[in-house]
Amino acid sequence: MTMNSNKLRQLVYDLRHQPVVTWITLTGTALSVFLMMTVISMEQLYTMPFAPESNRPRLLFGQNMEVGFIGSQGSSSSALGYSPAEKLYRRLPGVEMEAMFQIESQNAEAEGSTGRPYEVKCRRVDHNFWKIYDHTLLEGRYFDSIECAAGTRMAVISQEMARNLFNNENVIGFEVLVGYVPYKVVGVVKNTSALARQASGDIFLPMSQATASSYQHGMLGNVSVVMLLEDGADKEKIRNEVKARYATLATELADQGMVPIYHEQPYDVGTVSRGGYGSNNSPDDSGYKRERMITYLILLLLPAINLSSMLHSRIRRRVSEFGIRRAFGCTRARLMGDIISENFVVTVLGALVGWLCSLVFLMSYSGLYQNGWGDIIGDTPALTMLLDWRLLLMLLGVCFILNIISASLPAWLASRVNTVEAINGRHTK
């Protein structure tokens, strides 16, 4: 299975003399790897840690709430009201701190001193949000717990918004209108990638009992909870505690004819980012995994079938050579091994092209909300991820599997041809 310079030279000769087949083989492999890398990368981008979401592996989310009505089939669900959020998720054992915040940013219209209105992504967050997530503060400060609780009208905005709204970077103390309500700018943070699903935003406003929205007797609202776990905390234990608190809440609510319906909360970052469930049902993680496996399988099998027939026609014109090799002492097994290993090189070549494509694609995808190439090279999560040795190792694994699937049959057929017929260039199969 070794590759020496002769084999490599022969491979290049072989590829150059069948340009069409070579191109189809290479683009086929590249396309397959590109698709697979993109799917995997998207998945990875949901869960890998990067600023400002460097704590992702240690986070759990109390995302939403469903309340049922006793004596009726109906129920109502959305993010939580402030007080049930506190009751269910405040000071859980194994949790270092928790923050109340809007897990999804909201579109709003903002206006600064330039007088030009901008459509912005706005998010209400409390003081702990700034501790759990690691934004980079460029100017000023974040709001503290007292200001938060008081519902003070202050805002932390992104660098880009400072430029857009004020044409200026020294904007501390300036007033920004968000939905026609004035807020005082107290801090400016560095822009964040839109891939930071839970922490990115243009404008951050204080979240508290006073500012949270509330309906359904305060049960529902716009509050979600993010919890930063202590090192080595047991997620199952925390879930069980939350479940117990649901039961307590249920007895409290019974008087009002309501019952909170438990949906396996709190979730980890992968579950939240993948979505695919509503506020009134439980995420189906095993179903999701099954779906993913089928996707990967299809992404592997379709091109493998194609590549297989490509390889078959590539080696057809070499039957005579294989016959000669057999005559001079090459065993069937060795012949098969040589064909497969040779094809592996082609697969890796195609995979490299596909990998480069996904690199370019993901860089432009995650480069949203980035300014200039400096930023992109510096801390684009996609780049860090695609250069990760584990991913590269996996890519090599994918090539290997793709190669085994596509090359085995043609190689076996080639090794089975009768030696004499092979030498004379006849192939019965």
């Binding site: 072989d14 000669i324 065993t331 069937r332 004499v420």
Partner: protein, 224 residues
């Protein structure tokens, strides 16, 4: 004991339409160091005989002993090893590998032999090409060579591993008479200098007369 010994060897080709008895109860002994030529009209089974002696094909019945080994019983890898160690092949249409240069073509049998280092392979290739007067073409591709040169490279490939037996199926069939004579003298040198046993199929009476023994074939039988 003969170096090649065939007893009651038959070969039956079966296709959907017809059955062809290519060899019928052949008994043949070839001694070590002999230069034997096989003659006969086209389709009489000469190549079939050579292929069976070369372990490239198997007999339908009968026994084949080469170097005191009953080769009919060998499995794929054992027979590959046996060919590699003891047999060299020369074909009418050379059958060089077009994508490999002269050195790599000649090296082929050594690649499949265990325990030969790359340096040693290079040395052996160099040596055999010098012997056959082809060392100045070592980097050429087969397409850059004349027919006679191709056949010389093919002979180099056949003997680089120092086999006991060389099987040549119409080695001069594709060459003009001058080049044919050159190839014949190479085979004779090989036979004289190294004591290699040569079995050659030919249509050329004059070439055949220069060998130790002529075996005449007709329709699957030895006639003389």
């Amino acid at each position: 004991m003969s170096i090649i010994s065939l007893k009651e060897v038959s070969k039956l080709y079966r296709t959907k339409e017809i059955e062809t008895m290519a060899l019928e109860n052949i008994n043949l002994d070839i001694e070590e160091g002999e230069f034997v030529s096989i003659m006969g009209p086209s389709g009489c089974g000469k190549s079939t005989l050579l292929n069976i002696m070369g372990l490239l094909d198997s007999a339908s019945s009968g026994s084949v002993d080469i170097l005191d080994c009953n080769v009919g019983k060998l499995g794929d890898s054992a027979s590959a090893r046996f060919r590699n160690a003891n047999l060299g092949f020369v074909f009418q249409s050379f059958h060089l590998i077009p994508s490999l240069n002269v050195a790599a073509n000649v090296e082929l049998p050594l690649v499949y032999r265990s325990g030969v280092s790359a340096a040693e392979r290079r040395r052996m290739v160099q040596e055999v090409l010098e012997r056959l007067g082809m060392s100045h073409r070592i980097k050429h591709l087969p397409t850059q060579l004349s027919g006679g040169q191709c056949q010389r490279v093919a002979i180099a490939r056949a003997i680089v591993g120092k086999p006991k037996i060389v099987l040549a199926d119409e080695p001069t069939g594709n060459l003009d008479s001058r080049m044919g004579a050159e190839v014949m003298s190479l085979l004779h040198r090989l036979n004289k200098e190294d004591g290699t046993t040569v079995v050659m199929v030919t249509h050329n009476e004059e070439q055949a007369r220069q060998t130790d023994r002529i075996i005449r074939f007709f329709d699957g039988h030895i006639v003389s």
